[in-house]
């Protein structure tokens, strides 16, 4: 999925998030007032409205909350990779994000499967996160 893959266009609230992803160090904001983690990045805590937050590095451990095997690509950029797996992953920090489940046969994917975080460099200094099954 390398060519013309859609990439994020960061804004003032997400620039730090994507900068950390580009350094292969996914991190989440944690509210300094109520201690809640949040994803996606926001200037205000959606729990308590505090604007004070710290960045906490993701542990990289998670489980598959759900997944879908895409047999029709969302766009031409994904045609060569089809079928590919899009998954919702619950990370140890308590946040859920959407990503790709890779190095996993479509028949192998399971809800609840433990996964580990990795990165794809997609050019122009942009990286994206992905997950793969934890292998013994």
């Amino acid at each position: 999925m390398a060519t013309h893959r859609p990439v994020p266009t960061p804004d003032h609230e997400s620039a730090e998030f994507w900068r950390r992803v580009a350094s292969h160090a996914l991190a989440f904001q944690r509210c300094l007032a109520c201690r809640a983690f949040r994803f996606y990045p926001r200037a205000l805590c959606p729990e308590c409205l505090s604007d004070r937050a710290e960045w906490v590095a993701a542990s990289g451990r998670g489980t598959v909350y759900s997944f879908t095997v895409c047999h029709r690509p969302a766009s031409e950029a994904f045609a060569a990779a089809t079928p590919y797996i899009v998954a919702l992953v619950d990370l140890a920090e308590g946040v859920r994000l959407l990503t790709n489940l890779v190095d996993c046969a479509p028949t192998e994917a399971r809800v609840g499967m433990p996964v580990t975080l990795d990165y794809d460099d997609v050019g122009d200094g942009v990286s994206l996160y992905k997950v793969s099954p934890v292998r013994p």
Partner: protein, 383 residues
């Protein structure tokens, strides 16, 4: 019913449906509006409340210009496919408060002729959350999000593809009884399962159609409704909510906003799920219907698969559902919520010919918008 809540549906209509080349979206909305006003026995000059969206950035303003309607009350809200059902509530609230007396709700789309509906989803601002946190991973939108919900429901509750297929098959049987439905040839559960998987576990026949079309509703006071052309249908209860926009922000993929709006709307009407005679639910995908049935309280969470088994929702079954053939088989110009209300009204009037549900006195209409994001419920009854 709560004290002082007014509102009766007095006119409903579709525009031409299907593939309607050579017409614009606003034209289809206007065509449906003219037909709905004629259905009510009202004229354009009677309209003093306007509820629409989707025509440029100021939907109701543009539509008002197009038909020279200068309303006392105007609403261009947009909550995806839930919007028209929510508009029934907005209009009834405005009417109850005396802010307008004749409300026009309308919608039109040429998404089929425009070939605008693609798996990548509608183009969004590059900085939108969907563009930053979903598009880079190739989630087909909205289909992929609904597929994620289906996978989760199957994993947690053991729901099967066969059970989802029951919904598509039953809905097609209703469409066969509707002369304006697009897809009227019978299908079997095996046909659904043999159709290509688009985003697992959803097959092509688990997915709604993509068509052109429009619809319109006319709502007024119950008092004024008594003297109009058709038997008035009372707005007994309404509720709306939204819980997230992008799928990673949905709290639990097996529970939709209908779990909030269904009980609220029924309580407002003073009714229970068992009092509903005919149910019209936005069926963007088969899983949407199954989740919504559970959330509205027709069965317990997780029991939707068993509930729809053995063609229970088909003509002749004991739970008439999506009696015009739904978005799966009748039409789907997007924003199907408006068609749930049109059919609910027609069923309560007794106008539905071969697909008429006998002695239908209470209808539940439910719209879902976005990726299970927004919900609107309306309970309608013979006035």
């Amino acid at each position: 019913m709560s004290g002082g809540f007014d509102g009766a549906l007095v006119g409903v209509a579709e525009s031409d449906l299907g593939r309607v080349p050579g017409k614009t979206a606003i034209q289809l909305a206007a065509e449906a509006s003219a037909r709905a006003l004629a259905d009510a026995g009202l004229g354009k000059a009677d309209v003093d409340g306007l509820f629409t969206f989707g025509f440029g950035r100021m939907g109701s303003v543009q539509f008002g210009e197009y038909l020279k309607i200068r309303p006392r009350y105007s609403d261009s809200s947009f909550m995806g496919g839930a919007t028209p059902v929510a508009f029934v509530g907005h209009a009834a609230a405005a009417i109850s408060a005396g802010l307008c007396q004749v409300a026009l709700v309308c919608y039109g789309s040429t998404q089929a002729s425009d070939a605008a509906r693609r798996l990548g989803g509608a183009p969004e601002d590059a900085r939108q959350p969907s563009s930053q946190y979903e598009r880079p991973f190739g989630l087909p939108t909205p289909l992929g999000a609904y597929a994620l919900a289906a996978t989760r429901h199957m994993a947690v509750y053991g729901t099967t593809s066969e059970q989802l297929a029951e919904i598509a098959v039953a809905t097609r049987k209703w469409a066969a009884l509707n002369p304006v439905a697009m897809m009227r040839d019978p299908i079997t559960i095996e046909d659904v399962l043999a159709s290509p998987v688009i985003a697992s576990p959803l097959h092509r026949l688990d997915c709604c159609l993509v068509t052109d079309g429009g619809g319109a509703l006319v709502i007024t006071t119950r008092e004024r409704a008594r003297d109009l052309a058709k038997p008035p249908i009372a707005v007994l209860g309404v509720a709306e909510t939204h819980t997230h926009q992008i799928i990673s922000q949905m709290p639990d993929l097996t529970v939709t906003g209908a779990a909030l709006t269904g009980p609220r709307a029924l309580a407002m009407a003073g009714l229970r799920p068992g009092d509903v005679d005919v149910t019209e639910i936005y069926d963007s995908f088969t899983i949407t219907v199954l989740l919504t049935l559970e959330d509205l309280g027709f069965c317990k969470k997780g029991e939707g698969g068993a509930f729809v088994a053995k063609q229970r929702t088909a003509p002749g079954g004991d739970f008439p559902l999506n009696t015009q053939g739904g978005g799966l088989s009748y039409c789907h110009p997007g924003v199907f919520g408006i068609f749930t209300v049109i059919e609910g009204v027609r069923q309560l009037r007794g106008e539905c010919g071969p697909r008429q549900v006998a002695n239908a006195r209470v209808a539940l209409c439910h719209g879902t918008g976005g990726v299970l994001s927004a919900s609107g419920t309306a309970i309608l009854g013979r006035a």
